[in-house]
């Protein structure tokens, strides 16, 4: 099948890429851009391991066609570190709170937490739980993940 050109912003950089129009965004991100933080756990939008931000909203990139990303702004976990490799506060909070075990779901959870911690409003723990219910974790029981998100959200609110 003929490839189609898409132009989009990926992790803060303008990119042009010729892609198979049948490909999912997750396949393109992993295959063409080697962004392997984007994980495949189910390929049908159930597990959330492939979560990325598209124009600031969370999407399961495994069920989002790559051609739909044309003209959009896509952010993966790799885009959270600065050019020197310094990590963001939410990544540090995942480390500090012990919110990582096998690590396979971790990139998706961190991406799903971004709209929460970047929101001007405050979320209760129950609301955080609801917000991240599109992501599965079988290792942590979610307790420390909720802790990490809550802590980061609180410290960002205080900083404002």
């Amino acid at each position: 099948m003929d490839k189609q050109k898409i132009t989009f912003t990926l992790n803060h950089e303008k990119r042009e890429e010729y892609i198979d129009p049948r490909a999912s965004l997750s396949e393109v991100l992993r295959g063409e851009f080697s962004l392997t933080s984007v994980k495949h756990g189910c390929n049908v939008g159930e597990c959330g391991a492939c979560t990325v931000l598209i124009d600031g909203e969370t999407f399961n990139s495994c069920i989002y066609l790559a051609i739909w990303a044309d003209g959009k702004d896509v952010l993966t976990l790799e885009g959270l570190s600065d050019v020197n490799g310094n990590i963001s506060d939410i990544q540090q909070a995942f480390i500090d709170e012990g919110a990582i075990q096998c690590g396979f779901c971790t990139p998706g959870f961190i991406m799903s937490s971004l709209p929460i911690i970047e929101s001007p409003r405050t979320f209760t723990r129950d609301e955080i739980r609801k917000q991240i219910s599109g992501n599965f974790c079988r290792c942590t029981g979610y307790e420390t993940i909720v802790n990490a998100i809550e802590k980061t959200a609180n410290s960002r609110h205080k900083a404002k």
């Binding site: 992993r30 933080s37 756990g41 993966t76 995942f94 480390i95 990582i100 075990q101 609801k130 079988r138």
Partner: protein, 761 residues
């Protein structure tokens, strides 16, 4: 000292940045992809294939069927191999099977240039079967005239084992005994690690390399040699980071077939990545088990005689087979020692998905049955539920008559005390008496014991290697595997303290490579901090001795005057800093007269075992019209001996509790009773706990130092899953008076139970 400190994971940074590489992340570009054709009948023979249309699909390289594979049956479970024939695992499957034994059995493989081509070809393969009647339950499989699932096992019973200690028949003649009977059922569930079963394989020279998401690289190597009929030296297994295992990856899954596939395409790299649906159906599950339990109790609540009969539904292939239900009936005996006890256990082939190891290896099943039964006894006797347990539970110094495993330490009583206090047991018990109304409250609890590792069934072997770098840092290599539980971190902590260097000076090599990594059987049985921790300790002391010997040579001192602390060679008495470790390491490497490669490798044979303990306390609401349980408050309190890393240990308990809640409340594999097809082979239909379903999880530890553990520690990884489901079931009984004897306690299940009890119409 860093043992006992909540240090962050050594792999945390790589995991929060996406740098940590898992199997699929390492798959080379332009490699071939294999897709397995799974049977669409549950029992019968493959007669023929029509591959004509499938072979025409552009990009298809080769199609291999059950008629092409080596005529070799091989075992899959991740047990250490036994050189004694009678203890060897059951070799009952081929790489692809002509005799199909469940809906989803592997019968053919397409190798193609792309995944799409492989999938298209799969759809075009025509299969002719000779279908036979299938049986899905233990009762049907054991019934006279049931179809034969494996020729080697007439009657479909893989093993029937039994034990008797004391005389059961004479013990029950004691005057005044009260007989309490119960039948309990646990369901089949799946591990649901987020990374599916994955591997890829290629050849270098005449050797096969398999990169795989496995808990047990050295064992998988052995299994591949058995499946292919090749030598040990010809197989190399590489294990990168893995996205969870929970016992499923304590089995050879895709690896043997994948190893063979590369040999069929001239050694080209072939990837075999299971989908979620395949991982559900075609890997392993937790056994559904049925238990008939009888207890003879004296009026004072002490047990006089106990009896169990257990049936385990193995599914289509033996995998870990009888080891799980044997473990269950042994734990039944250990938890409440009694003068007369008798047990029978059956493991039975059926035509459902194969069961294998899953977190706590048979003990979540017996944990539910036994602790439910204890509450049933208490209800019958109108006795205090906790006092009844305390009167009968295992005490320090207990020696199990079946296994000789000894209780070297126990904090069980403190676990109960702490949990009771946390949940406000005594106040709530009063408050929740005599309830009416549609929403009722209840408290429940359950306890468990769990042995650490597998001795004396097998002599546990673990090896470790440490290499001193020129800067005084140390490479730590383990055969034991990091599977998310934090093994690499706790081994690094142990290494730092034993050698006498800071944690930052330890570089643990997370990847296992059977060409390089010292031998170890891998991650299972909550064995690694206990068994492999001892290997770290032994190797660390050996490395330290070698460093001190070289330092003694350099300093012209007696080695007995020297010690290594915080990367300095110090005088043992004065503690005076004599020379930096980095200077010793440089001299050792580059000395013009006496250069040494300072390294140590030691093997530890574990010939002891010990029990971990714990308790779960739960406070719940039951909405009777909605048939719904809401957990208000829950705590697990664990005695796993000395905690090596409280941050990671707490995480293990959280994860186990969550899995226990899913087991108790939601999860269940369902199959079509006509065809045997799995109905909920995906994460939408299979009800896994989400963050919203999960209550706040509370964790406490009591830490009696165990004399047999390398740092006073004992099993932790698996146990947290065990007591949760029975604690909730017992809280449900407390709230409603309804004793539900099977799980999950899902609304659709409770509806029938409440209806039967007359609580709803």
């Amino acid at each position: 000292m860093v043992v006992g400190k909540p240090v962050e994971r050594v792999d945390a940074f790589d995991k929060v940045t996406g740098r940590a590489k898992y199997t699929a992340d390492m798959f080379p570009e332009n490699a071939l992809i294999a897709k397995v054709l799974h049977s669409t009948i549950a029992n019968g023979m493959v007669i023929s294939f029509d591959l004509n249309d499938a072979l025409k699909v552009p990009g298809v390289v080769k199609i291999l069927t059950c008629f092409d594979v080596p005529d070799i049956q091989y075992p899959t479970p991740g047990h250490p191999w036994s050189t004694e024939k009678k203890h060897q695992d059951i070799a009952d499957r081929k790489l692809l099977n002509t005799h199909v034994r469940f809906y989803g059995d592997d019968i053919a493989v397409v190798i193609a240039e792309t995944e799409l081509a492989a999938k298209r070809a799969l759809d075009l393969i025509q299969v002719k079967y000779e279908e036979q009647k299938a049986v899905f339950t233990v009762a049907d499989a054991m019934a006279p005239g049931a179809p034969l699932i494996h020729d080697e096992k007439p009657g479909n019973v893989i093993v029937h084992s039994n034990y008797e200690f004391g005389s059961f028949d004479s013990a029950i003649t004691e005057q005044g005994l009260i007989k309490v009977e119960g039948t309990y059922h646990t369901q089949q569930v799946q591990h649901c690690h987020i990374e599916n079963a994955s591997s890829f394989a290629y050849m270098e020279g005449d050797r096969i390399t398999v990169v795989s998401s496995t808990q047990i690289p050295h064992i998988v190597r052995r299994i591949c040699t058995q499946a292919l009929g090749c030598s040990f030296g010809s197989i190399r297994i590489i294990k990168p980071y893995i996205g969870g295992g929970f016992g499923n990856k304590q089995d050879a899954l895709t690896e043997p077939l994948n190893a063979w596939l590369t040999t069929q395409v001239g050694g080209r790299c072939v990837g075999l990545f299971y989908t979620r649906e395949e991982t559900f159906v075609c890997t392993r599950t937790r056994h559904a088990m049925d238990f008939d339990i009888t207890t003879y109790v004296r009026p004072d609540g002490s047990f006089a005689a106990r009896r169990i009969v257990a049936y385990s539904n193995q599914g289509a292939y033996a995998s870990h087979a009888h080891a799980l239900v044997a473990n269950a009936v042994n734990a039944f005996r250990m938890m409440y020692p009694v003068g007369a006890i008798k047990g029978d256990a059956y493991t039975v082939y059926t035509n459902i998905q194969t069961a294998g190891a899953m977190r706590a290896y048979g003990i979540p099943q017996i944990g539910f049955a036994l602790e439910a039964h204890i509450d049933d006894i208490a209800a019958r006797l109108k006795a205090d539920r906790i006092a009844l347990r305390q009167k009968n539970m295992m005490q320090l110094g207990y020696v199990d008559p079946g296994t000789t495993i000894t209780c070297h330490s126990t904090g069980l009583q403190q676990c109960i005390d702490k949990g009771r206090k946390f949940i406000h047991w005594d106040e709530k018990a009063k408050q929740y008496e005599h309830q009416t109304g549609s929403v009722r409250h209840g408290i429940g609890m359950a306890i468990f014991c769990y042995k650490t590792g597998v001795y004396p069934i097998s002599l546990e072997t673990s090896a470790c290697r440490m290499v001193l770098n020129q800067d005084g840092t140390v490479q730590l290599q383990m055969g034991a595997t990091e599977i998310g539980q934090g093994a690499d971190t706790v081994f690094s902590q142990m290494c730092a303290d034993t050698v006498g260097i800071p944690l930052e000076s330890v570089h643990v090599i997370s990847t296992q490579d059977t060409d390089i990594t010292p031998y170890d059987t891998g991650a299972y049985a909550s064995r690694q901090t206990y068994v492999c921790g001892m290997a770290v300790k032994k190797t660390g002391l050996s490395l330290k001795r070698k460093i001190l010997e070289f330092a003694a040579f350099m300093l012209h001192k007696d080695v007995s005057d020297l010690d290594l602390k915080d990367s300095w060679i110090v005088h043992t008495v004065s503690n005076e800093k004599l020379i930096a470790l980095s200077d010793v390491a440089m001299e050792a490497c580059y000395s013009l007269t006496n250069s040494h490669h300072i390294a140590a490798e030691e093997t530890h044979h574990c010939s002891d075992n010990t029990y971990s303990f714990g308790a779960c306390f739960a406070d719940i609401d039951v909405d009777i019209p909605l048939c719904k349980i809401h957990v208000n408050n829950i705590i697990n309190v664990h005695d796993s001996g000395t905690i090596i890393n409280p941050l990671l240990a707490t995480g293990q308990v959280h994860g186990g509790m969550s899995m226990g809640l899913g087991y108790g409340l939601l999860e269940q594999m369902l199959y079509d009773p006509k065809t045997g097809r799995t109905l909920d082979d995906n994460m939408l239909d299979y009800k896994l706990m989400t963050a919203s379903d999960t209550p706040e999880l509370n964790v406490q530890f009591v830490e009696p130092s165990d004399p047999t553990g390398p740092f006073g520690n004992k099993a932790l990884g698996e146990p947290p899953v065990i007591p949760v489901a029975p604690a909730i079931r017992n809280a449900l009984l407390n709230a409603t008076g309804v004793a539900v004897d099977s799980i999950p306690l899902s609304p659709e299940h409770l509806f029938f139970e409440f209806k039967k009890a007359g609580l709803i119409k």
